[in-house]
Symmetry: C2
Subunit: 281 residues, 2 copies
C-alpha cells in the first residue's frame, strides 16, 4: 500500500472487510471503498457493485479469498473478470491468498490463471498454511520492480523475518505436502463438526462457505452483536467477533474462528452460543 | 513516524544519518532536514545548527545516541537542552537508544533525565543489547496514548513479535546483567584492538568515539569512498560502508562495524584496508 497510494487515492474492498486492510490504507491517507458482498449467494463477490465504484481515484482492489471473516471462496471466473478490468484500467489487484490452502473445494487453483498480469500483487501466509502463526512469516509475489521497492519498505520496518522462524520454515517446506495436509485435515474436521452442531441447534443457521476457517453467522433478533460478543467473553469465556468490525452493514453477524479449535471444543462452544441466544429469543 | 507526520512535515536529524530513518520518513511524505555534526568534536551535536533549522514545519527531532555510524555518545547536557526546546515548541523528540548498552563512558545514563517529558519517544533494541539480531526484537517507551496508537500501527504490519523470539528474550532478561556484560565486553575488546591497529597503521586515524560498535573514518586522498568500498568487497572480501549513504557531506568517510568481529579478525581487516590505501597514496 505504501508503494501504490497517494493521499486521497481509493481502494475498493469487498465487504465484510478484514479490518487490518482498512487500517493500513487509512494510516497512509488512502480511502477504503467497501462494496457489500451478497450474503444470499454465500458472500460471493458483487461484481456489478465493484464495477460501479471504479473511478479515476481507484488505485487498487483487494480480493481476500478464501475470505476472512466469511470463509467464502470467490468464484474463479469472477476474479478473472475483475483482473481483466484492472489490467485494462491500470488498477493494481491485490490477491490476499492468506487462506489459499484452506479450500474445501477441489476445483480451486487460482494462481495459475493470473501469471501474465503485471499489476498483480499476491499475498500469502506461511503462518496460516503450516499452522505456525507465532513465527510471523508470509510472502509476497509480484513483478521484480515491485518486489525491489517492497524490500526497501521492509528495510524500514523489520529489516527481515527472524532467522529462527526462517529456519523452521525451511524444515517444513522440505516436507511440505504432509505438513499442509495435516493442518488442513484438522481444520476440515472442525468445520464438519461446526456444520453439524449449528444445524442441530435449530436456531443457528450457516450455509457453509468453502474456505478459510471462519464462519460468519447472523444472530437472530439481534441488531448489533457488539454487546452479545462482550457477554460471550465475560459470561461464557467464548471469543467470537462482532460483525461490525468487518463493516457497518454486518452488525447482526458474528465471526466464529474454528481453525485452532478441536471438534470437541466446537461442540462446547456452539452449546454456549445456543444457551445465550435461547435466553434472549 | 506514521503517528507524527503529515505530508510536508519536517524532521531534523543530526548527520551522519542512519539511512533507514531517512527512508521511513520519506516513505510517508515527510522531509528530512540534516544538520551536520562536528567531526572535529568527535561528531558531537551541532546544537546551534539544529536550533537554526527549527521552524513551524518541524514535527520531530531524531537523536541516535550512541550513534550509528560514528559511535559518538552525545553530551548529556546537549540532549537536555534540545529536549527542553522540543518540550517548549511541542516538537516530538525521538531518542534512538539502540546502542545504549554499548557506551565506553561510565557517566552515560540518559534515560533518568527525561522521564517527565510528554512528547518523548524512546526506541531501544533487544537485538543489539543481547547480540540477538536474528530474533528481530526491540521496544518503544512513550506516553500511554502514543503507545496505544502505535499498537494499532503494529497490528497492520507484523501484529506482534514472533513468540519464539519473545520466549528466548524472557530467558535472557532473567539473567540480564551477565548477558549484557558478556556482549559489551566482547565489543569492548574488539574496539581496543581496532584503536591499536588503526594507530599502528600510521595512515588511518580515528579519534575513538565512546559508543555503539562503529568507527567512522576519513580515508586519506579519497573524495568519494563508494568505489573504494566496492573494491574492498570484491578484491579483499571486506565489508565496510561508504560514508555517502549516511549523508552527502561524508563522501570521504567509511564506516567500520566491529560489533560481531573478533580482535583477530579486526587485525586482519585493518591490514586489508591498509594494503588498499597504500596502493593509492
Amino acid at each position: 500500500m505504501f508503494l501504490q497510494l497517494q493521499y486521497g487515492d481509493e481502494v475498493i474492498i469487498p465487504s465484510p472487510v478484514y479490518f487490518n486492510h482498512t487500517m493500513a490504507i487509512e494510516m497512509i491517507g488512502g480511502t477504503v471503498v467497501e462494496v457489500n458482498s451478497i450474503a444470499e449467494s454465500g458472500f460471493q463477490l458483487n461484481l456489478k457493485g465493484i464495477q460501479n465504484k471504479i473511478n479515476s481515484k481507484t488505485k487498487a482492489i483487494i480480493i481476500n479469498t478464501p475470505n476472512n471473516p466469511t470463509g467464502a471462496t470467490y468464484n474463479n471466473d469472477d476474479i478473472k473478470i475483475l483482473a481483466q478490468i484492472c489490467d485494462k484500467k491500470n488498477i493494481t489487484i491485490v490477491l490476499d491468498y492468506t487462506y489459499e490452502y484452506f479450500s474445501y473445494n477441489l476445483n480451486y487453483n487460482p494462481l495459475a490463471s493470473f501469471e501474465h498480469l503485471k499489476n498483480l500483487i499476491i499475498i500469502g501466509s506461511f503462518s496460516k498454511t503450516f499452522g505456525i502463526t507465532g513465527l510471523r512469516l508470509g510472502y509476497i509475489c509480484a513483478s521484480k520492480s515491485i518486489i525491489e521497492d517492497l524490500c526497501k519498505i521492509q528495510d524500514t520496518i523489520s529489516i527481515c523475518a527472524p532467522s529462527i522462524s526462517q529456519n523452521i520454515l525451511l524444515q517444513l517446506l522440505s516436507n511440505e505436502n504432509d505438513a499442509i495436509k495435516m493442518n488442513f485435515n484438522s481444520a476440515s474436521d472442525s468445520r464438519d463438526k461446526l456444520i453439524k452442531c449449528l444445524n442441530d441447534s435449530k436456531i443457528l443457521n450457516w450455509e457453509a462457505t468453502n474456505g478459510a476457517f471462519y464462519a460468519f453467522i447472523k444472530i437472530p433478533n439481534t441488531e448489533n452483536t457488539w454487546d452479545f460478543c462482550e457477554k460471550m467473553i465475560i459470561e461464557y469465556s467464548l471469543l467470537v467477533l462482532p460483525g461490525s468490525i468487518f463493516g457497518e452493514h454486518w452488525k447482526s453477524y458474528i465471526r466464529i474462528a474454528y481453525g485452532a479449535v478441536s471438534p470437541k471444543e466446537i461442540e462446547e462452544g456452539v452449546q454456549r452460543l445456543y444457551n445465550q441466544i435461547s435466553k434472549t429469543t
